[in-house]
């Protein structure tokens, strides 16, 4: 007992003054961001579309809120198409894995789902997103998205994008057919007034396959679009 008291109390007192300043631990930096990747008017559908990603966190771990919404231009309210809350972890130099869940589809008719996403920068500068979902009814489906920035000038950027949707089952309320359900190609030309603010024009083409054709009631769809990309 006396020994312990000696060590706990006296040793620090005896060595005080010879010790250096006690180093204070470094506080890791946490930051946040909101990326409005797409806020665009689609000419054919007369719709306003929104795609938004936001995060809070540090270098290795982040919390993500990701959503898509749609609004008829002249009337109606914003309708969520999907909203997911995900926990992201850096797993390699260029890729993050995000795990979480959310809701997709129309209110009360849609699906609650689990989500796992692999997001990052693939070789040759392709921004890629590979997502797997499992709905509360046990329907698995997935999406691959890739985009590329081609710099015409320092501020004028041409961005092609490809999106492929595939599902193991037909999910009627989400208008997803079994198999390869949908392939979308689009191209956007943006002008970065500032890095954070870039208006753009573009063209999008989509083709539905299998059951999706029936569910959506069309085989092909193409539209001009005009929009604004922002982040802060």
């Amino acid at each position: 007992m006396m020994r312990q008291i000696f060590f706990v109390i006296f040793i620090p007192i005896l060595t005080f003054g010879q010790e250096f300043y006690p180093i204070e631990p470094m506080h890791p930096i946490r930051y946040w961001g909101v990326f409005v990747d797409k806020l665009e008017y689609r000419e054919k559908e007369k719709n306003l579309n929104l795609e938004l990603d936001s995060f809070y966190g540090g270098d290795y771990h982040k919390l993500w809120l990701s959503l898509e919404a749609k609004k008829e231009l002249k009337r109606g309210d914003w309708e969520f198409e999907r909203a997911d809350l995900l926990f992201g972890k850096a797993i390699s130099s260029f890729f993050d894995i995000r795990v979480g869940g959310g809701y997709a589809g129309k209110k009360d008719e849609g699906r609650t789902r689990l989500a796992v996403e692999l997001v990052g920068l693939a070789p040759y500068w392709f921004e890629t997103e590979l997502s797997f979902y499992l709905t509360h009814k046990g329907e698995p489906y997935g999406k691959l998205k890739a985009e590329y920035d081609l710099l015409l000038t320092q501020r004028l950027v041409l961005q092609p994008e490809v999106e492929v949707l595939a599902s193991a089952k037909t999910i009627e309320p989400l208008e997803i057919g079994k198999g390869i359900s949908n392939v979308g190609l689009s191209i956007r030309l943006r002008y970065e007034i500032k890095r954070e603010i870039a208006p753009y024009v573009g063209f999008s083409w989509e083709r539905n396959y299998g059951k999706t054709k029936e569910l959506k009631g069309k085989v092909e769809e193409s539209t001009f679009l005009v929009g604004l990309r922002m982040w802060f």
């Binding site: 040759y124 710099l151 015409l152």
Partner: protein, 562 residues
């Protein structure tokens, strides 16, 4: 008729009358601080405040000492003792670090490492003996005040007569000013690492190059970079897009002027006080004789140009013979901007800037790829054999590239300065004017400089043969009195100015006892640089990258000598 008054105010602003009203905007010019001298004591008072700073059309807020940008010049004398009272009038903490000065550990000024910092609305007194001479500088080591104007020159006069003889003696402090909040800059870089780079390669560049060099070679080269997800134009994180480069606080338009009479010897003490900018310095038409590096006298070497890393100092002697205005031209390393002053025989003259050079481009050699792509000086060198096995990226997410065969490149002028027709200073040219028999190092510590550009992660991994760590809290222990070889290995495509507090780094450039000693060492992309450190000062000493944004992102360690 209110618009009349407004126009008048605008006119006042534009004509620069506003500069003479201290409550309105800070003074931007170099001034010498008043010292109270009694016996062996030199006493200064420095007041730190937040103040509006106007540069060109832009208004920002500076963290300034005695309402000056840069902070006032302090003249110390070797052999004397200095007492500096720092009064913090701000609502945030502050600190002052004496860059390159050998001071007792608790006077080194790094908050959280050697003292608690200077809290808001309080004062702190620094007191230490001056045990050296030469050109140095001082700056804040708190928050990001170093970007906001809290930096000033130090001249330490030698006890004995100065061996460097000159008729005139000028300080030229280079810096990068922005009205943006530096925290915002860091956040921008975290979210968009190319935020400030407006010199990227475009489709137009591709077409032009394809015409000159052929379509397939150009495509092949582009694909190599794209495959690695790297940008060959990524030279500086923060650029002239937001920075206005300053010389003694003044812009090129304000024409900082340094007078001479033809035939005179003029000593120019260059100090790079930037937060994130390396400069290439030239005086077209004049040879510069480098006589001092990092405050240490070196064997004189004649050059036409030198690159000054962040936090380095170089003293040069020039002897202008003609009765004309010479340009003191300092271009940012990425050439996104410059600042120019005039070396003139009389006031009112302004030099003509030299033509702008091409945007510099990194090569595969800068990425650590050697072989048939490489051309030049590295062929005959053996690469450094690392103690650390890097075959399976030991840095994980922190690294977007690992250099397996780092090369010594001391004789390489570096990106953008190779193949110049004139002489560019390299570290291979530096020979100490004094002999330092510090002895053979007993052991080796590798410092791996690691980064991930996409995530803007920057780390400093230490490896002593046993333990690999990049944690700030894991100190690098040195035994008092031992001599250690530090090997800096740069696994990134950016330069890193590595600064060790409290002790000299003897740059091993083959000079043995005439190796130059430095406080800041520039480590080029994919380069290995070896230095020898004599652990002759007790305490916690910071070892960090002097790019403010790399330091704040985590390229910061502590060497503990005990």
């Amino acid at each position: 008729m209110s618009w009349h008054r407004r126009d008048f105010l605008k006119l006042m602003l534009l004509s620069g009358i506003a500069y003479s009203v201290p409550s309105f905007s800070a003074f931007r010019r170099l001034e010498v601080a008043d010292a109270r001298e009694k016996d062996e004591l030199l006493e200064y008072t420095l007041v730190v405040r937040k103040e509006p700073v106007e540069v060109g059309q832009r208004r920002g807020v500076g963290t300034l000492i005695n309402s000056l940008l840069p902070s006032p010049l302090l003249k110390f004398k070797e052999g004397k003792e200095v007492v500096i009272h720092v009064i913090n009038e701000m609502d945030e903490p502050t600190s002052i670090h004496w860059h390159g000065l050998l001071v007792p550990n608790e006077m080194d000024g790094v908050p959280g490492v050697v003292f608690p910092g200077i809290p808001p609305k309080s004062r702190f007194t620094y007191r230490f003996p001056v045990v050296q001479y030469g050109t140095y500088w001082y700056h804040s080591h708190s928050l990001m005040q170093e970007q906001l104007g809290m930096y000033g020159p130090l001249i330490l006069e030698p006890k004995e007569e100065d061996v460097i003889k000159a008729d005139r003696d000028y300080v030229i402090m280079l810096s990068d000013w922005t009205d943006e909040d530096p925290h915002r800059i860091l956040s921008n870089l975290k979210k968009h690492p190319g935020y400030y780079n407006f010199q990227k390669r475009t489709l137009g560049d591709f077409l032009r190059e394809a015409r000159e060099k052929g379509f397939y070679p150009t495509l092949k080269e582009r694909l190599m970079w794209a495959q690695m997800r790297m940008d060959s134009r990524d030279i500086a994180d923060v650029t002239g897009y937001t920075y206005t480069y300053l010389m003694n606080g003044q812009t090129t338009e304000e024409n900082p002027t340094f007078l001479f009479k033809p035939g005179e010897k003029v000593r120019l003490r260059f100090i790079n006080a930037s937060a994130a900018t390396y400069f290439n310095v030239r005086i077209p038409g004049l040879k510069m004789t480098v006589v001092q590096a990092d405050g240490q006298n070196v064997y004189p070497v004649d050059v036409d140009e030198f690159r000054i890393a962040i936090a380095e100092t170089y003293d040069v002697i020039v002897e202008p013979k003609e009765e004309k205005a010479y340009a003191i031209y300092a271009e940012a390393m990425d050439r996104s901007g410059f600042v120019m002053g005039t070396l003139a025989p009389r006031k009112g003259m302004k030099a003509v800037p030299p033509p702008k050079r091409e945007v510099p481009e990194l090569t595969m050699e800068d990425m650590g790829h050697h072989g048939h792509m490489g051309h030049g000086h590295n062929h005959h060198h053996e690469g450094y054999k690392m103690m650390l096995d890097v075959s399976k990226n030991p840095f994980g997410v922190d690294a977007d590239m690992v250099v397996s065969n780092p090369m010594p490149k001391l004789d390489d002028p570096g990106v953008g300065l190779r193949n110049q027709k004139h002489k560019v200073l390299t570290y291979a040219d530096l020979v100490s004017a004094e002999e330092y028999p510090i002895g053979k190092p007993e052991r080796t510590i590798e410092i791996h400089l690691v980064g991930n550009m996409e995530r803007f992660i920057w780390r400093m991994y230490s490896y002593d043969g046993k333990k690999l760590s990049s944690r700030f809290e894991d100190v690098i222990p040195l035994r008092y009195g031992e001599t250690v070889r530090f090997v800096f290995i740069n696994h990134t495509m950016m330069h890193h100015p590595i600064h060790l507090h409290g002790m000299w780094m003897y740059l091993d450039n083959g000079g043995d006892t005439l190796n130059p000693r430095k406080h800041t060492i520039d480590v080029k992309p994919a380069e290995v640089v070896e230095v020898i450190v004599k652990a002759d000062a007790y305490g916690n000493w910071a070892l960090h990258c002097h790019i403010l944004y790399h330091m704040d992102a985590g390229m910061f360690r502590i060497v503990k000598v005990g």
